[in-house]
C-alpha cells in the first residue's frame, strides 16, 4: 500500500507542477498579456509588478522565481486592488468558499445516497421512477439556471430565504441547494446502478441465505461494494462543485474566493487569476489524492495488492 500512496502523491505534485507551468506559459507567451504592456495601471502598480515578477529578467529566471513563489504560496500583488496581495484575497475568500463547498458535497452525498439506494431497492417501482425522475432533472438544469429559479421562487415570490450574502444559516440554504443539486443527482444515479449490479451478485444471495436481516444485507454487504464507483467519482464531483462555486458566489453575492476570481476575470487582474487558479488546482488535486486514499481503505484488494504473497 505504501507504493500506492507514494505513487499517487508524486502524481499529485506532478499535476500541480504542470498546471502552474501551463498557467505561466499562457500568461506570458500569448500576445496581449499585461506583463508586456499594461494600459490602465499606474506607474506604482507597474513597479510593484515588475519587482515581484522580475519582469526585467529573462524568461527562464522569471519561470523559476514563479515556481518558487508558488511553492511558498506567495502570489504577489493584485492589479485591480493595488493595496492588497493575492494571498490576502485568498485568505479572505477561501474559508467562505470552503464552507459553501463542504456543505454542498455533504448534502449531495447524503441525499444522493439515500435517493439512489431507495430507488435501487424499489427497482422498477414507483419510488424508483420518482427518484430517477428527480435525478435526471437535477443533472439537466444547470446550477446557474437553478440558482436564478430558486431566487425567483423562494426569495422573491415566497420570501422564505434571503437572496444574497452569507451571514446567517438562512443565507446558506439557497446557495447550497443550488450547488448541491447536480452532484446529488449524479451520485443518486450512480449508486442506483451500482447497487442494482451488486445486488445480483452471488455473495448477496449467500448473505440472504444466511438469514440475515434485509437491512444488514443491504448496508453491510451490498452498499460497501456498491460505494466504490461513487468514491471514484467523488474527485470529479469535487471539481465541478468547485467551479460551481464561481457562479453561485457571483449570483448570490457571496464574498468567497470564487467571486474574486470572477471579478478578476472581468477586470483582467492577471496576478489574481493566476494565483487563484493555481491555488484552486492545488486544492482540487489534493482532494483527489485524499479520495484515492479513501478508495484504498475501502477496497481490501487494493490495500493488500502489494502483499500478494500470502495466498
Amino acid at each position: 500500500m505504501k507504493n500506492y500512496v507514494i505513487k499517487r502523491f508524486l502524481l499529485m505534485i506532478g499535476t500541480i507542477f504542470i498546471i502552474a507551468s501551463l498557467t505561466f506559459i499562457l500568461m506570458h507567451l500569448i500576445p496581449g498579456s499585461p506583463f508586456e504592456q499594461d494600459r490602465q495601471t499606474s506607474a506604482a502598480v507597474q513597479e510593484n509588478l515588475r519587482a515581484f515578477h522580475q519582469l526585467d529578467q529573462p524568461l527562464y529566471i522569471q519561470y523559476f522565481s514563479y515556481l518558487k513563489s508558488i511553492a511558498t504560496f506567495n502570489f504577489g500583488p493584485s492589479i485591480a486592488s493595488p493595496d492588497t496581495t493575492v494571498n490576502e484575497l485568498i485568505g479572505r475568500g477561501f474559508p467562505v468558499s470552503f464552507e459553501l463547498g463542504l456543505w454542498a458535497i455533504g448534502i449531495a452525498l447524503v441525499s444522493g445516497l439515500v435517493l439512489g439506494v431507495m430507488a435501487a431497492l424499489h427497482h422498477n417501482g414507483l419510488l424508483d421512477h420518482l427518484c430517477m425522475g428527480i435525478a435526471v432533472l437535477g443533472i439537466s438544469i444547470p446550477n446557474f439556471v437553478l440558482s436564478t429559479l430558486l431566487i425567483q421562487e423562494f426569495a422573491v415570490n415566497l420570501g422564505w430565504f434571503p437572496a444574497a450574502t452569507w451571514r446567517t444559516p438562512m443565507h446558506m440554504v439557497l446557495p447550497v441547494a443550488a450547488l448541491a443539486t447536480a452532484p446529488m443527482a449524479i451520485i443518486a444515479r450512480l449508486i442506483r446502478s451500482s447497487m442494482l449490479e451488486t445486488l445480483t451478485q452471488d455473495y448477496i444471495k449467500m448473505a440472504r441465505a444466511k438469514g440475515l436481516s434485509p437491512m444488514r444485507v443491504v448496508i453491510r454487504h451490498a452498499l460497501r461494494n456498491a460505494l466504490m464507483p461513487v468514491v471514484t467519482l467523488l474527485g470529479t464531483l469535487m471539481a465541478s462543485i468547485l467551479t460551481g462555486t464561481f457562479v453561485i458566489e457571483k449570483i448570490f453575492a457571496i464574498p468567497g474566493m470564487g467571486r474574486y476570481f470572477i471579478d478578476s476575470i472581468s477586470t483582467r487582474d492577471y496576478p489574481v487569476i493566476m494565483g487563484t487558479t493555481v491555488f484552486y488546482s492545488t486544492i482540487l488535486v489534493f482532494m483527489l489524492f485524499l479520495v484515492d486514499m479513501a478508495y484504498c481503505l475501502l477496497d481490501p484488494r487494493i490495500r493488500l495488492h502489494h502483499h500478494k504473497g500470502q495466498a
Binding site: P142, I262, I273, Y280
Partner: protein, 312 residues
C-alpha cells in the same frame, strides 16, 4: 388385473407413436434481427428516450427555421418596446433593449446546438484516433499514451477552459477549441477499452495478415463494433458542452453581445428578476434545461438499448 383398468385406453393408443423425427432437429428459430434493429426496437420501447428524441428533432428544426421566418432580428434594438411581456406580437416578450426574446432564443439554440455538436464531433475524431491507436499498438506506446491521458485527466476541466478563454479572444471558434482541448479524453479511454477487447479477435488478425494499416483496421474492423459506447458517449458530451458554453457566456467569457446565446441571455436576465420581468430568464432557462434533459434521457435510453446486459 381389474376389469375397469383394462378398458381405460383404446387399444390403438397403446401402439408406438409415429413421429416425424425431422421435427426433433428443427429448432424453433427466432426471426433474424441485427444488432442495430434490436437496439432500435429496444429504444422505441423507452418512451422517455423517444420523447427526448422527438423534442431534439423539433428543436433542431425550430433552430434552423424559426429565425428565418421571424419578422424580428435577433440583434436589432428597439428601445421603444423594452421589457414587454409575452404577447401576440412578441411570443416570448422583449428584453431590456427591446429585442424579441423569441428570435433570440432560437438564435441561441443555433449557437448552443452548433457548439454542442462540434464539440462532440471533434471529441469523437480525436478520441477515436488517440484511443484507437493507443489500444491497437499496445505495449510501451499504449502505456505512455495512457500516462499522458491520466495526467491530463487530473487537470480540472472547466478551470482550464476558463483560463484559456481569458487569454484567447472569445469567439465561437475559441470556445470550441477550449472545450475540445481536454474533452476528448473520456472518448479516448472508451475507445481504447473497446479496442483492447476486440483486437485479439480473429477478424482483426485476418486484416493484419493482409497488411492493413492501423488506420484502416480502426476504420473498417474496430469502429463498427465499438459504435455503441461511442454513440452513447457522444450523446452525453453534447449536453456537457452546451452547459460549458452557457457557463462561459454567463461568466462573460463566451459569446459576446449582441449575439444571443442561452448563457448570455440568462446572464442578462439576472438583474431584471427582481423587477418581475420573468420571461427574459424563463425562456432561455427553460430551453437549456429541456435540451440537456432531452440529451440525457436519450443518452440513457441509448445506453440501455445498446448494452442490454445492464438493468432489467
Amino acid at each position: 388385473m381389474k376389469p375397469h383398468e383394462q378398458d381405460l385406453f383404446p387399444p390403438e393408443w397403446l401402439q408406438p407413436a409415429i413421429r416425424n423425427t425431422g421435427d426433433l432437429h428443427n429448432t424453433i428459430e427466432r426471426p433474424y434481427v441485427s444488432y442495430w434493429q434490436d437496439a432500435w426496437q429496444r429504444l422505441r420501447r423507452n418512451k422517455l428516450a423517444m420523447l427526448g428524441l422527438v423534442f431534439l428533432l423539433a428543436l433542431v428544426s425550430m433552430a434552423i427555421f424559426a429565425p428565418l421566418f421571424s419578422p424580428y432580428s435577433a440583434t436589432a434594438q428597439d428601445l421603444r418596446n423594452q421589457n414587454l411581456p409575452p404577447s401576440a406580437l412578441h411570443w416570448f416578450g422583449t428584453d431590456d433593449l427591446g429585442r424579441d426574446v423569441f428570435t433570440r432564443t432560437w438564435q441561441g439554440a443555433r449557437i448552443s446546438l452548433f457548439v454542442g455538436f462540434m464539440a462532440a464531433l471533434i471529441d469523437f475524431v480525436i478520441g477515436v484516433a488517440y484511443g484507437g491507436y493507443s489500444g491497437l499498438k499496445g505495449g510501451k506506446t499504449d502505456a505512455v499514451m495512457m500516462r499522458i491521458v491520466e495526467i491530463l485527466y487530473g487537470l480540472p476541466y472547466l478551470l482550464m477552459v476558463i483560463l484559456l478563454m481569458v487569454v484567447m479572444k472569445p469567439s465561437l471558434l475559441t470556445i470550441i477549441i477550449a472545450l475540445t482541448i481536454t474533452g476528448w479524453i473520456s472518448m479516448a479511454r472508451i475507445v481504447r477499452g473497446q479496442v483492447l477487447q476486440l483486437k485479439n479477435l480473429e477478424f482483426v488478425t485476418a486484416s493484419r495478415t493482409f497488411g492493413a494499416s492501423p488506420g484502416r483496421i480502426i476504420r473498417k474492423n474496430l469502429l463498427p463494433n465499438t459504435m455503441g459506447p461511442i454513440i452513447v458517449q457522444m450523446t452525453l458530451t453534447v449536453p456537457s458542452a452546451i452547459f460549458a458554453e452557457a457557463f462561459l457566456s454567463f461568466l462573460g467569457l463566451g459569446i459576446q453581445a449582441p449575439h444571443a446565446s442561452w448563457g448570455v441571455m440568462t446572464n442578462d436576465a439576472l438583474p431584471v428578476i427582481l423587477s418581475g420581468d420573468w420571461w427574459q430568464l424563463f425562456f432561455p432557462a427553460l430551453f437549456i434545461s429541456l435540451t440537456m434533459f432531452a440529451f440525457n434521457v436519450l443518452g440513457d435510453g441509448l445506453q440501455d438499448a445498446l448494452d442490454p446486459k445492464l438493468k432489467k
